[in-house]
C-alpha cells in the first residue's frame, strides 16, 4: 500500500474527508466552467464588451433601411401597381423594422416513432 493510501486509511477511515473535498472540487470545476461559458456567451452575443457607440450604430442600422434598400423598395413600388404587392412590401418592411424577418424556431424536436 502506498504512503498516500496509508495516510488516507489512518486519517480518513470512513472516507468523509475525501468525499467532501472531491465533491467540492467537482462542483468548483463545473461552476468555473459555468461562469466561463456564461461570460463567453455574453461577449459573443454582444451583451457585454461591445462599445456603446458601436452597439447603438448596429441597432440603429437595423431599424433604418440603407440607401440601396430604400432605392430597391422605391423601384419595386414604382413598377408594381396591384394592391397585393403593396401589402406584401408593407408587411416585409414592417417585419424588417421590428427585426422579425427571420423565421422563429420553436426549438421543439419532433420524434416520430420508428415503423
Amino acid at each position: 500500500m502506498s504512503t498516500v493510501m496509508n495516510t488516507f486509511t489512518l486519517n480518513d477511515p470512513h472516507g468523509i474527508i475525501i468525499t467532501l473535498v472531491s465533491v467540492c472540487v467537482v462542483f468548483c470545476s463545473l461552476i468555473i466552467l459555468y461562469f466561463a461559458y456564461s461570460l463567453i456567451g455574453k461577449i459573443i452575443s454582444g451583451e457585454i464588451g461591445m462599445p456603446k457607440r458601436k452597439a447603438m450604430a448596429s441597432s440603429s442600422s437595423k431599424k433604418t433601411p440603407s440607401e440601396e434598400e430604400a432605392a430597391a423598395i422605391a423601384m419595386a413600388l414604382d413598377q408594381e401597381l396591384n394592391g397585393e404587392t403593396y401589402a406584401a412590401i408593407g408587411m416585409a418592411l414592417h417585419r424588417y423594422m421590428n427585426d422579425t424577418v427571420h423565421d422563429m424556431e420553436s426549438y421543439i424536436i419532433t420524434i416520430k416513432r420508428k415503423r
Binding site: P13, H14, V26, S29, Y37, I109
Partner: protein
Amino acid sequence: MNTIFESLGQFWQYTGFANMTLQHVVMIFIGIVFIYLAIKKDWEPLLLIPIGFGMIIGNIPFASGLNIGIYEEGSVMNILYQGVQKGWYPPLIFLGIGAMTDFSALISQPRLMLIGAAAQIGIFGAYIIALHIGFTPAEAGAIGIIGGADGPTAIFLSSKLAPHLMGAIAVSAYSYMALVPVIQRPIMLLLTTKKERLIRMAPPRQVSQKEKIIFPIVGFILTAMIVPSGMPLLGMLFFGNLLKESGVTKRLAETARGPLVDVVTILIGITVGCSTQADEFLTGDSVKIFLLGLISFVIATVCGVLFVKFMNLFCKEGRKINPLIGNAGVSAVPDAARVSQNVGREFDKNNHLLMHAMAPNVAGVIGSAVAAGILLSFLG
C-alpha cells in the same frame, strides 16, 4: 491400439470439456444472457454483444501452458488486453465521444452544468459504503466510479487503482448503463410531483460556431488545470469535440467518431468480457461490486433530481427547470437524456425535454472524468 487410446486420452485432457467446472458453465451462461438481452431487448447491443461473447471466450477452459489465455504474458488476447490494463482504450473512446457530441445544449444553458456535478455524488456515496464493507481506499474509489455511469472512465480508473477488480467493475458499469431506463424511472417518479413534471422550460438560445470552437479549448484548459490527473480523458474528449466543431477537420472527426471508436469498442468489449474468467470473477467481491454499483447509480439519480428541485428554489417563474432532467446528470449519453424525454412525455405529450436533458448529460461526462481524476490523484 493402446497407443491410439492413450493419444485420445491425452487429447481429451486438453479439451474444454475435460477442464470444465460449474463456474465456467455459469459464466458462459451469463455471457449468453448478455447476448440475449442485447439482441432481444436492444440493451446497449454495441457493448453487451462484445462483452457477452468475450465472456464465452474467456471461460472456455484450457490446460495452462498453451499461451492463449488473456492473463498469459504474450498471448494474442493478452496483447489486446494491454489497452485495458494500461488504460489507453478509454481515452480513445473519449476521443470518439467528443467527436460525436454536440455540446450546444450545454453552452446555451451553462447553469444546467451543475446538475452534472450533483450526480457525481453517487460516486462518493458508493466510495464511503465500499470502505465500510471492507474494501481498501483504492478499491473503493475504483468501485465508486461505477456511479458515474461511464464504462470507459470506470475501466480507466480501475486499471490504475484496482486492476484485479477491473472485470467486475467494467461488467457492472456497462450492465447498469444498459439498465438506465429501468433503474432511473421509478426514482424520478418517486421524487417529483405531478406539477413539477409538467414544467416547461424555455427554449435554449442559438449557439454560434465561434462559441462551439471556444468551448473545447477553454473547457480543457480549465478542467485540466484543476485536475491534471484527468487529462487523458478530458484532453481526448475536448480534442475530439474540437475536431468536430472546427469545421476544417471533418475527415479526422469522422474517423474519430466512426471507425476508430468502433474498433476500440470491439476491442474493449471483447477483452473486458474475456477478463471475466470464472476463477477470478465468481467471487464474493464481485457480488458486492454489483450491489455497490447499483447503490451508486441510485444515489447519483437521487442527487441529480433533488439538486434540480433545490435549484428551482432560486429560479424565477419561467426559468424553472423540470426535475425530470436531473437523472441525466450521470454520463450515460444519451440514454439518461432519453429517459428524461420519455418520462416527461408520459405526463405531457408536447413537453420535449431531450435537448434540455442533453446539457446535464454531457456535463456528466465532464464531471465523471473530473471525479476520476480526483480519485486518481488522491488514491493512485
